[in-house]
Subunit: 452 residues, 2 copies
Amino acid sequence: MQTPKKIAVVGSGLVGSLLAIYLRRAGHTVHIYDRSPDIRQIQFSGRSINLAMSTRGWKALDGVGVGDSVREIAIPMDKRAIHLVDKLNFQNYGQEGESIYSISRGDLNRRMIDLAEQAGAEFFFEQKIWDVTLSEATLHIGETERGAWEEKKYDIVFGADGAFSRIRHRMQRQSMFNYSQEFLNIGYKELNIPANPDGSHKLDKNSFHIWPRGEYMLIALSNLDGSFTCTLFMPFEGENSFALLENRKDVELFFEKNFPDSIDVIPKLAEDFFKNPTSTLVTMKCYPWTYKDKIALIGDACHAIVPFYGQGMNAGFEDISILSEMMEEYGDDWEMIFSEYEKSRKPNADAIAELSYRNFMEMSSKTADDKFLLQKKIEKWFSDKHPDKWIPLYSRVTFSDRPYTEALAIGDDQNAIMEEVLKTENIEAVWESKEIENKILTLLHEKEAVKN
Amino acid sequence: MQTPKKIAVVGSGLVGSLLAIYLRRAGHTVHIYDRSPDIRQIQFSGRSINLAMSTRGWKALDGVGVGDSVREIAIPMDKRAIHLVDKLNFQNYGQEGESIYSISRGDLNRRMIDLAEQAGAEFFFEQKIWDVTLSEATLHIGETERGAWEEKKYDIVFGADGAFSRIRHRMQRQSMFNYSQEFLNIGYKELNIPANPDGSHKLDKNSFHIWPRGEYMLIALSNLDGSFTCTLFMPFEGENSFALLENRKDVELFFEKNFPDSIDVIPKLAEDFFKNPTSTLVTMKCYPWTYKDKIALIGDACHAIVPFYGQGMNAGFEDISILSEMMEEYGDDWEMIFSEYEKSRKPNADAIAELSYRNFMEMSSKTADDKFLLQKKIEKWFSDKHPDKWIPLYSRVTFSDRPYTEALAIGDDQNAIMEEVLKTENIEAVWESKEIENKILTLLHEKEAVKN
């Protein structure tokens, strides 16, 4: 057991709330600050992508026994529903029984705050943190950036305040702090498929729906109330872009032409399109993540990624699992806890950033590509024959808690192998053969040999 | 001629001062702000690496007729003097008559401020800019960050305020602003070789002196007063590092062992070592560099690089040459001027960042490596025979004003060719042969063919 500390968590989002539960269980006093009002008192909407909880997320929730409470508001999705212009394909995500889970960000955040309060964490909403004194773990709080500030001293401060973290902002001004932020030229906009009058879903609720169109795509994830949260990803400028959709007519024509089967299910298309903001997507990396035994960043505050692998929240929750392991291992030595936490997590955060960045192409282009679908079929066929020799990349990321770095490295090896295999003459006809099976086995063996 | 504008330049360093001269020549009112006192009134020292002015720098200075005034305080260096532990080698930088020029940063900065004042720019020292309103080109000035601020409105604001630019700091908080800062694990420390009693130099003043030792190195550049400014580059931590040199004895033993011929010429070694700070080295990249027709970053404020190619100041001065070309081309259309300026300069800034980063290895390791010295000899021999076909990378960067991007690309091609050539059996003996000449010609031809 650790000596009880007085700990501030800045940010009452998903990671901040779950972290608070872990810290309470370890016996600490926990104050959570957020610049926004209590999300439980307000309407939350307009710029959210539904979350896809997977193994890493569940592990962190179950680690403090709150997984089942979250399962109540989650809908399993065991496959992709790929809406081509003229047909609908399905592609399973994993083995029988493996699913990712659609959860509304607002619903989950409200639930997590309730759970953190029940665990004894104290929340302070509409409290703006403008600065932090790193060496003293002291927060500077006030109405405005240039107005009067109040000081609150803690033993430890966690920055769980997202991609534009104020806590990190102060650390950035230290020497030797590495930092990068890179925006995609793709933006996103939230749209909505309402429930049927009887409360049922208009599309299959157990599918992750994608309309892949190359440089842009539409996705839809189910909600408990029968609706779907849709997200349109599209370049800001260029041939198919937000810049060209200037009025209702433009938007309606664009959807009729490119997403014909969405027209009937998105009744308030143009209205929502112009009401909801067009949001940006950023990859943010930094290092170090901690300052002595005083300050630690966690979640998006130290590794914001693009959403195309559905791993942002899962990676943030996994930060907490690893931090918790370090707390158990190093007891009261918080400098060691923080140092081992950042060393362990940084390479994995970089790996999932890379995988997420790459996956836009997979989702928006490759899911509509015959060669890619063939590759997936061959992988699945081989994996069924040799489950010990071939776990697909998606499963390594999504249905496993092995390090992301391992998934990235093995995924690259597998892709190189499949590139070779797809060069086989007449592969479309001969893939289900002993010849191909042996070819893959040989190539796998060669990769192994190189490593040893 | 442009319509006169009221322009603020933030930063009275080398780039800010030269930019002010260009803007004055174009007829604008120019106010230069700096948070520090007037460098002409104070002792400047302790964390400077002497500058190496080369072609791009001279071109920008000569463009407004101030080159000759700067030549008065510059010392030509036509070669490297490579101090190995047991011998001294020399290596020419370019062709007969080609030199880089050693200038003390303090001397040059004082001269540039004098020249800018003579051109009619007005300086405001000890004026701290804390913020800028981008859309209004308004500076916010005050004693302290949290104290009272005064507003100064301009037509245009230039941020020439270095790697930790306050102007960029505000732009960073805009959406879609890409940014990265990456520190090297190598620090540097200024040391000094004083003049002889008669005012002469203790080492050859027309050489750039290097003591290459692999992961660390010492350099020395001459000053007008007979002294040399030395810089020790070394890892912060590890086997040979600043961390291990904790007291006078450590420093003296380290220098005796590793830089034996420096001992006699650096009399205040330990004193300076502990008086002068250990400084950090950062590569900073960002984009965009401008905001509408109101704000532009220039020099280190938008592309801080490590000093190993001696191009930091030269690249900053070249920014001004390009900006000036755009001013001539687009007249009063400042939005166009800024947009074309940033589009033209960004790839070149990235290229010199990459070249500078790579050059640490060249300076600290390769200059002591026989294979590398042989490569340089072969390149020089071939280049003398075919001056139209082979301009060495160093010359492309240093003695040319062709784009850095071109130097980087051609340099990579040349390196690939030389890698092939060095594989030739018994190359040490046969390099000066028709066979090798033909081999290089063939490889060059193949590279050309690929491109067309």
